[in-house]
Point group: C2
Chain length 462, copies 2
């Protein structure tokens, strides 16, 4: 069981000094890596951040698995109501372990479907409700604050839909809540109505919460091997505390990505899985990297407008969509391939010849080989075009490796935040938009923002 990081094609000797990291730059930055490791360790020991300790929560995992065992068979659909960090981890897990829709195939009580309501698009919610049966649906509502507008609005609709289908008294048995322990309106409602409830530690933010109840509850309900997930994450945690760059994969990856951003101007990181099962994880990573590192100010309060824009691409698919730009367009990108060493199925191509030149060089080979060759060919072509790239190689896509990979990327992000000297754990930038929304929806205390919005509209009219 392993995830290997190969940074060769990020180095100056492969892509040139203008785009690649020189040995001198790497050597000069090593103290920064040590400092980042110490910084994340200090934050963890002070209890400021909680994600490094989540793999140890085996008691909580046990409770969740027990609960899932108890309700098993009573539903064919898990309907997750949540947004952002409350939804993306569950999607990543569903996609990784059971494959992407629609190829997951038919659902049943033995193989429940995960429907994620992570948007307030009314047509989307209406389609979702039409596709589910209240008597066979288990609703998981997830909101750390307990008052996320989108989640609350959607849950009010889903709750009424449940009540119409199973009766007001029946709702209780069909709702599970994941929220903060000591605060929030969702917690109050859960207590009043008697919903089964699991808690999110205060020091675990949404994008770092997949291994808390936020990810583990839906995971257990759709049959993901929760102990294996935590086992993988625990192994990676041990790796992440190692002091040397050679063995500390997340720290080394953070340093190389940091140098590519700050020394070589690679303002975009393309997360490039060559596996459909990792597509959900790419979107989970996209939040982690964007929200943690995209900041207006550094910790000293100096305006920096820093960050690296994460882009999700899928191989081989996006070779026929994005790679033209990646090869020839602006040199503003670094590419992080996510490869899988041993697909569970080779995908044998029939050996029978067709007599057609464009077909017969493929007959008798396998999709696994073609996928691997295309991944390596794309890396080689990028490298020859001075486009820096690197690879995470997972042995397999299973619960243990996905747990490892989540923890790897969370540690890498935390380390990169330290290197950039920013607070990787807040998200002040989304507050203004939220306040405008509250103002326009008529929430008490936000009339000033309604006024400010009206002034903006007047300015638009010129």
């Amino acid at each position: 069981m392993a995830i290997v990081f190969d940074e060769t094609n990020l180095l100056a000797r492969m892509v040139g000094d203008a785009d690649g990291i020189t040995p001198e730059e790497l050597a000069a930055a090593e103290p920064l890596a040590a400092q980042a490791l110490a910084g994340v360790k200090a934050l963890t020991e002070a209890g400021v951040i909680g994600f490094p300790n989540l793999p140890k929560q085996t008691a909580l995992a046990g409770e969740i698995v027990t609960y899932a065992g108890k309700v098993k068979g009573s539903y064919d659909t898990v309907c997750l109501v949540g947004i952002g960090g409350s939804a993306l981890g569950a999607w990543a897990l569903d996609c990784a372990i059971r494959g992407p829709h629609p190829v997951q195939g038919d659902h049943s009580a033995a193989k429940p479907r995960l429907v994620i309501l992570d948007n307030v698009d009314p047509e989307f919610v209406q389609l979702a409700l039409a596709s589910m049966k209240p008597k066979k649906t288990l609703v998981v509502v997830i909101a750390k604050s307990g008052a996320t507008a989108e989640t609350v609005a959607t849950f009010l609709i889903v709750r009424a839909w449940l009540a119409a289908g199973v009766g007001a008294k029946g709702v209780k048995a069909r709702v599970v809540v994941v929220t903060s322990e000591g605060r929030g309106d969702l917690k109050v409602m859960a207590t009043n109505e008697g919903y089964t409830t699991f808690h999110i530690p205060e020091n675990v933010g949404g994008r770092f919460s997949v291994l808390s109840a936020v990810g583990l509850v839906p995971a257990a309900l759709i049959g993901v091997d929760v102990p294996a997930l935590l086992r993988g994450a625990a192994k990676m945690t041990a790796t992440a505390w190692k002091p040397d760059l050679a063995s500390n994969t997340p720290l080394r990856a953070a340093l190389l990505h940091f140098l590519s951003l700050t020394k070589k101007g690679k303002t975009i990181q393309v997360a490039f899985p060559y596996a459909n099962r990792l597509w959900g994880t790419a979107f989970w990573f996209r939040q982690l990297w964007a929200e943690s590192l995209g900041k207006a100010k550094n910790r000293a309060g100096v305006v920096v407008h820093v960050g690296q824009t994460p882009v999700a691409a899928l191989g081989t698919t996006d070779q026929h969509s994005q790679v033209q730009l990646y090869m020839e367009g602006p040199k503003d990108k670094l590419f992080t391939f996510w490869a899988v060493k041993k697909p569970a199925d080779p995908g044998a191509i029939p050996a029978e010849k067709t007599g057609l030149e464009g077909f017969d060089y493929l007959t008798g080979q396998s999709l696994a080989k073609l996928l691997d060759v295309e991944c390596k060919s794309t890396q080689a072509a990028l490298t020859e075009n001075q486009r820096p790239n690197c690879v995470f190689t997972l042995d397999r896509v299973d619960a243990e490796h996905v747990g490892m990979f989540f923890q790897l990327l969370e540690f890498e992000t935390a380390f990169a935040g330290e290197m950039l000297d920013i607070n990787a754990f807040d998200q002040e930038g989304v507050e203004l938009g939220k306040k405008f929304t509250f103002g326009l929806m008529g929430r008490k205390g936000f009339a000033d923002f309604k006024k400010r919005y009206t002034d903006y509209e007047a300015r638009r009219k010129g």
Copy 2:
């Protein structure tokens, strides 16, 4: 029926001179717009490009609809084998008209499911095959060249799977081919085996082909209203030939996006639909914009490394994932919102009060209002942070509007290519990776590239 473009928040008076376009810059660029219009017109009249004329192909559309009517009821799954421009248009249409998976709900002969095999990931293909029944699957193979490695490899597997399920003689009735008329191994096989075949005009490239047989065949097979699609596209075509910027929406959008890129350094365009139904279209657009405009050289052969990286984001969902970066990170982005004026369902939120402050300001309102308010609030907050943004507003998401929107974005891309003085219709940058793949897979004539790859591997080892 309309699609409106609002560029107010791209202008200097809203976001400042450093990030917004000044009246002087706009006035100075107007001749360039006229030149771009003339350029695309000349290419069309010379027959170099064919997409502007696709909406007129009503005879072809009639044949396709007739064929779809004939086979209707004989399948519950349409399995599309194709990649890039051969797959993304069909996905965009399926998602727009029937909603995204998994909320589309159960499939049946009356409501067939579209399964797109656009990757050679063996686990993905294996899951897909396990989810389909050969006797109830209609396979559509799409490849303009007739020799795309991924499509050929997948089709060889799917063909054997069909033969195992329906017998070798039964395969013929379960396969439809879309390819070039006069060339390619897929065309030869289709002729030899007697597959129903539709053709792609030579002057229509993959990313501009959604309104050719490439998009229309799968669309008709899943019940999309093909005449409405073409009707919408025809209306937009008329708009795109208008000489004045005020009424020519695609030309105005192209000019403003071009100026944001070249004068204000906005190297990333976020396509930001506030509608799950437009998520597939965002991925279709991502290919169109990236592959058309990402070029190493201009038409004079000068190295320019030009292009704008398209990023797909979904509102409100990505407010909780990407907007922190968008508000506070590097000022390298422009945002193009895709809003829908009249959702088919308002998504009424129950009026009953809960007694909870964080819930009760929402009760009795609607998801449609919340979605609209969040979209506008995000625009306002971006504007106050000097982040230029603009909006396409579609009245509705239906076949007619999607047809209009495809054509709008195709024209916009073609115009932007003229303004950048590049060839927007080739994709030379993907050739090197393909050649390495051919070499490593042992295709005849590519031994040199196998050697070149081996040399690269040796350099990596240092």
